[in-house]
Symmetry: C2
Subunit: 357 residues, 2 copies
């Protein structure tokens, strides 16, 4: 198989972790006789520093021309505490999502048995949890009109949805539910928001096309609670952009750490694969970040973008083997981890490559 893959390391630890996702892809190509060619592009703070724009045209063109994109992370504290900054790293990410039509963000909450103890949740609460989030990614209050009064006394963001936006992601989520435990939970705030009432209306309609799937509707506040109380009750979770952002970060604690979670953003064109963690500037450049989320993002690319299920499985297995052998980065270590098994980003990445070969 011949594929062009674009690597966008982005900001902070994005640089360090993405190199391992890429090496995993190279190793898979060598092992299975695929031809993966790689190009690289800039985005976010890194791109602002270099070009003034968080998403340079050249990056967007390369993205559109590639078969799949492996992305790192975005953001910089410099902008976070400057509420009046006009140009921001995150604009690059939001724009590429919109331009590539990446309306569906899949976030599987993959639980490795070895990490049951790394979570703040009790192992018996976690054991058996397997959730697949479908987060809408190109609509909602993220993309509605924003205003700020001249005198800085007022600001607004428009939350909105069109029926077709809800329909297309709902169908994708229902299709996925068919290949899983046949349960779908749609999360909204229909007791307060008109947008949510439209959302629920559409989901109820699509649900009728999938009578074999058990549909549940849940308010976001309740969902945020249930996810901690009893995560096992969820199978496929379908939700809007903002609610999905919140719930999936929360759900990262089920997997033990944000450093473990991969995501796939898909739509009508090129797929985009990235860890759900951020740029973590506090630990950037220190060989501390967990590369597993980037490696698992590469696995999602193999599976979803290229249909290489076997190769994807082998990568996931290499991660499982690494964990089973006791290797840990700081974020997934605990008091019992022997210091000999505590690894940096590069050592952890190299371990996974070993198991993969």
């Amino acid at each position: 198989m011949n594929k062009n893959i674009l690597i966008i390391p982005g900001d902070g630890i994005g640089q360090e972790v993405t190199t391992w996702g890429k090496q995993v892809l190279e190793t898979v190509a060598a092992k299975y006789g695929h031809e993966f060619s790689f190009d690289e592009a800039i985005m976010g703070h890194t791109a602002i520093e270099a070009t003034g724009s968080p998403l340079p045209d050249e990056t967007l063109e390369k993205a559109k021309a590639s078969d799949a994109i492996l992305f790192g992370a975005i953001g910089h504290a410099k902008y976070d505490n400057d509420p009046s900054a006009k140009v921001r790293p995150e604009q690059g990410l939001l724009k590429i999502r919109k331009e590539l039509g990446l309306y569906a963000n899949l976030r599987p909450i993959l639980l490795f048995d070895e990490l049951l103890e790394a979570s703040s949740l009790k192992p018996e609460v976690l054991r058996g949890t397997d959730i697949l989030f479908f987060r809408e990614l190109t609509g909602d209050v993220y993309f509605g009109e924003k205003t700020r009064s001249e005198d800085n006394t007022y600001a607004s963001d428009l939350m909105n949805y069109h029926r077709y936006e809800v329909e297309r992601i709902a169908r994708k989520a229902y299709e996925a539910a068919r290949t899983r435990n046949k349960k779908l939970c749609s999360v909204d705030k229909a007791n307060v928001l008109e947008t949510s009432r439209l959302w629920r209306d559409v989901v109820q309609e699509i649900a009728r096309e999938y009578p074999d799937i058990e549909t549940e509707h849940m308010f976001i506040d309740n969902a945020a609670m249930q996810l901690v109380k009893n995560p096992k009750k969820f199978d496929v979770v379908l939700t809007a952009n903002l609610f999905g952002d919140i719930l999936t970060d929360e759900a990262s604690q089920i997997a033990g750490s944000m450093g473990m979670l991969a995501s796939a953003s898909i739509g009508d064109g090129t797929g985009f694969f990235e860890p759900i963690h951020g740029s973590a500037h506090d630990i950037a450049g220190q060989n501390k970040a967990n590369p597993l989320a980037s490696i698992l993002s590469a696995a999602l690319m193999l599976d979803i973008a290229f249909g290489l299920q076997e190769e994807a499985k082998v990568v996931t297995q290499a991660v499982a083997d690494t964990l089973k052998a006791g290797w840990r980065t700081g974020d997934i270590a605990n008091a019992e981890t022997p210091s000999t098994h505590l690894l940096g980003t590069n050592e952890m990445g190299a371990k996974v490559l070993e198991y993969l070969r």
Copy 2:
């Protein structure tokens, strides 16, 4: 002390639990020689059934004339799955919050040692947690303009904030932080939302008036994660209406159950005290609901509305004593709870009264 208290039981289990909050207030009055007189009014589904309106004028008038309000819960499944219903129970609650100017919703996450094991979180993660949420309650996407296109293909809700709305709740939160551990975490989504950037701008400004308080700004997705990962790191949490709704429900799992959490909504006039749990129609009328959140709401009323700190403490102590003696409702029981100590709503309420007397 002479006070007029309005009881609004509302819907579902609201009826059953509020009667115990009220009896606690009566018992306190008798014990300390206060004169509390009570009136009752309807709201929500109950009020729609009786009058067609979720907040009848008479209820609003009584509310304005009272010294404090003890509320139960609101909502009914009938409306939840009917996205086109024009009249909804929740409108009653939103309207009374707006009409009474209840812009600050205080939600203390009170952890009773006896319930450490009732949570899905590990006891060592929980122990020592003590968070006070300040949720803004009369602005945000809850109250902005809503639209729905005639052909039902589009819906919107306007998220917005005025500077003064952020200022007044920020001041209240900072004042509270001064009486606690002097840490305040403001939660927003300033990397995406203009409303959040205004929010952060204002909080940064108010922060300068409180140099003795350590201020942190956190994105909502990160906060939803940190709350599970390490709840101890929070002291006062200040946030907008929607984010506060989500975070406080999530935080209920720290206290072991939604059935344990009380809240105080305050502003310029009459204060409003209510459990954070909902109407739970699935268990309504079955003597199963936990009355402690209503009882603790009564304690918040004594403390915040009437300045009766001693009386409030005695009520909270009676709840602690009840738990210490091993009495549990279903939501806070676990496998080790002997069946002889598993109580219904009424038996649990009566136990607290015993300890109170």
